[in-house]
C-alpha cells in the first residue's frame, strides 16, 4: 500500500504485469475513489466553469463530458480535469494530489454560483478493457453500451445507483462508475463476482500508470505542473481561445502554439532500462530536456517515455537519455505508443 493524496492505495493487487495484461486483453477493475469531484450549480454555473477551464464547455450537452486543463493567469496548468454537464450544473473531476489547492482556486473563482466539494460522498470505480462494456452492460438497468465516448448516463449497476461514463485512463474501452461512497464496496464485490468469468481482476496504481503512459495520457505533477503551459505538454488541443476570455487566455494568446517554450515528445528507448521522471535527455550529447514519465511497456516489450525538450531542439536531433550514468539511445515516436485495435 502507498499513500496517495491522503488515501491508502494498493500499488498492485497481483503484479503490475498481470494487471496490465488483463486490461489490454480482458478487463480490470480500478478503485479510483481518491479522485476529487466538485459540483457547480445555479444560473451562473456555465460562466464560472467556462472561465475556469481552457476547453469550450458551451459545446457540452447534458450527459456530455470533456477533458480540459485549468490554468492560472500566467497560463500555467493548475490541474487537468474532466468536466461533465449535468441537468442542473457541472461536475468536475480533479486529481487527488491537487484537491486542496483546486478547491481553494475554484472556490475563489466561483463566488457567483453554488460550489461544493463532493469528493468524500462520491466514489469512483472503473472497469476497463475489451470485455468491460459487455460486463457492465450485463449488470446495468439501462443500455449503457449505447453510450458514446465521453458521454454518461444515470442508471443502476448491480442495483447500485451510478453515473456511468464511457471514459477511462487506460487506452481501452470501458466505463467509469460514479457512485455514492456508501454503496461502493458492495458494487466492487458484485463487479468482481460477475467479472470473474470474463477474467476481470482488481488493478492498482502501478498498472494504472503503465496503461496510461502507453496510451499517451498525461499525469499531473509529472508531465505538467504550474510552470507548464498547455502547448508545452502537447495539450494545445484543449485550448479554445476563440470561446472568449478565460483564466490564462491572455497569456496563452501570447504564445506561439506551434513553437511553444517546451516540446513534449514520446520516445522509445533501445533496451530494457527504464527512463524515469527527471532524468536528463541529451541531443547530440548536449543537455536538451528531461524525462517526464517513463516505464517498461508490457504491450510493446521495450522501454518508453515522454520527455519535455527545450523548444530550440531541432525535430530531427539524435536523442539519448542519461539513465543513472548510462546513456541510452532514444527515438522520437508519435503519441500514443499504443492505440487499441479498431472495433475492439
Amino acid at each position: 500500500m502507498v499513500e496517495f493524496g491522503g488515501f491508502d492505495m494498493p500499488l498492485q493487487y497481483s503484479t503490475i504485469r498481470e494487471e496490465h495484461i488483463a486490461v489490454r486483453t480482458r478487463c480490470g477493475l480500478f478503485d479510483l475513489s481518491h479522485m476529487g469531484e466538485v459540483r457547480f450549480g445555479g444560473d451562473r454555473a456555465f460562466d464560472v466553469v467556462q472561465r475556469l477551464v481552457t476547453n469550450d464547455v458551451a459545446r457540452l450537452e447534458v450527459g456530455g463530458a470533456l477533458y480540459a486543463v485549468m490554468c492560472n493567469d500566467a497560463g500555467g496548468i493548475v490541474d487537468d480535469v474532466v468536466v461533465y454537464r449535468e441537468a442542473d450544473g457541472y461536475m468536475v473531476v480533479i486529481n487527488a494530489a491537487c484537491r486542496p489547492k483546486d478547491i481553494a482556486w475554484m472556490g475563489d473563482h466561483s463566488r457567483e454560483c453554488a460550489f461544493e466539494d463532493i469528493g468524500d460522498q462520491v466514489a469512483l470505480l472503473a472497469v476497463q478493457g475489451p470485455r468491460a462494456v459487455g460486463l457492465v452492460s450485463s449488470l446495468a438497468a439501462a443500455d449503457v453500451a449505447e453510450l458514446r465516448p465521453f458521454h454518461s448516463m444515470d442508471t443502476q449497476v448491480a442495483g447500485v445507483q451510478a453515473t456511468v461514463s464511457r471514459t477511462g485512463y487506460t487506452g481501452e474501452d470501458g466505463f467509469e462508475l460514479y457512485v455514492d461512497s456508501v454503496g461502493a464496496p458492495g458494487l466492487w464485490d458484485k463487479l468482481l463476482d460477475a467479472g470473474a468469468a470474463e477474467g476481470l481482476i482488481p488493478c492498482g496504481l502501478g498498472a494504472r500508470d503503465t496503461l496510461r503512459l502507453e496510451a499517451g495520457l498525461r499525469l499531473y505533477g509529472q508531465d505538467m505542473d504550474e510552470n507548464t503551459d498547455p502547448y508545452s505538454c502537447a495539450l494545445g488541443w484543449t485550448v479554445k481561445l476563440q470561446k472568449g476570455e478565460f483564466i490564462g487566455s491572455a497569456a496563452l494568446a501570447g504564445l506561439d502554439s506551434k513553437h511553444p517554450p517546451r516540446r513534449f515528445v514520446g520516445i522509445e528507448l533501445q533496451g530494457r532500462a527504464i527512463a524515469r521522471h527527471g532524468q536528463q535527455v541529451l541531443a547530440a550529447g548536449e543537455p536538451a530536456g528531461e524525462v517526464t514519465s517513463g516505464t517498461y511497456s508490457f504491450t510493446l516489450d521495450h522501454s518508453i517515455a515522454t520527455a519535455s525538450l527545450d523548444g530550440e531542439v531541432p525535430p530531427d536531433a539524435e536523442l539519448a537519455v542519461d539513465i543513472r550514468g548510462t546513456v541510452a539511445a532514444a527515438t522520437v515516436v508519435p503519441l500514443p505508443f499504443y492505440r487499441r485495435p479498431k472495433g475492439a
Binding site: 500499488l11 498492485q12 503484479t15 503490475i16 504485469r17 502501478g206 503503465t210 533496451g271 530494457r272 532500462a273 527504464i274 524515469r276 516505464t295 517498461y296 522501454s303 543513472r324 548510462t326
Partner: protein, 125 residues
C-alpha cells in the same frame, strides 16, 4: 520453501552461497517481492573483480531501480545469461534460476552477513 541453510544474506537483500572458493550471488525473495516485476539487470562482465559491500550492478522493476551490492569479494566467473531475456526469473525463482553471478576466488565477506534466521528476523518474516 527452498532450504536456505547454505545461504548467507546481506542487510541490503542479496544472498550468497559459498562452496569452497566458489560463490553464487542473487537477491532474496523478500527483495524481489518488494521490487515487483523485474524488467532489467545491469550485471558486470566476466573477469570483473567485485568487492564485498561494493556495488556490482543494478536491478530495475517498473517501480524502482536499485543498486546491487556484493556479499563477498571475488572474480566474476559467470553471469546468468538467461536473465537478459527473462529477468522475471528473479521473481519466480530468486534462490535458483534467478541467480545473478558465480564468483571464483571467493573471499572476504565484510563481516556483516546474516544466516537464514537472522535475515528472516531482519525482514520480519
Amino acid at each position: 520453501m527452498a532450504d536456505l541453510s547454505n545461504y548467507r544474506f546481506t542487510p541490503s537483500h542479496e544472498w550468497v552461497r559459498v562452496e569452497g572458493s566458489k560463490a553464487t550471488v542473487g537477491i532474496t525473495d523478500h527483495a524481489q517481492a518488494q521490487l515487483g516485476d523485474v524488467i532489467f539487470l545491469e550485471l558486470p562482465a566476466v573477469g570483473t573483480e567485485v568487492k564485498a559491500g561494493a556495488k556490482f550492478g543494478a536491478i530495475e522493476s517498473v517501480k524502482a531501480a536499485s543498486d546491487l551490492y556484493a556479499p563477498v569479494s571475488g572474480t566474476v566467473a559467470e553471469v546468468n545469461a538467461a536473465l537478459t531475456e527473462r529477468p522475471e526469473l528473479v521473481n519466480s525463482d530468486p534462490y535458483g534460476e534467478g541467480w545473478m553471478l558465480r564468483l571464483a576466488n571467493a573471499g572476504d565477506d565484510g563481516g556483516d552477513l546474516l544466516d537464514d534466521a537472522g535475515y528472516a528476523k531482519l525482514v520480519g518474516a
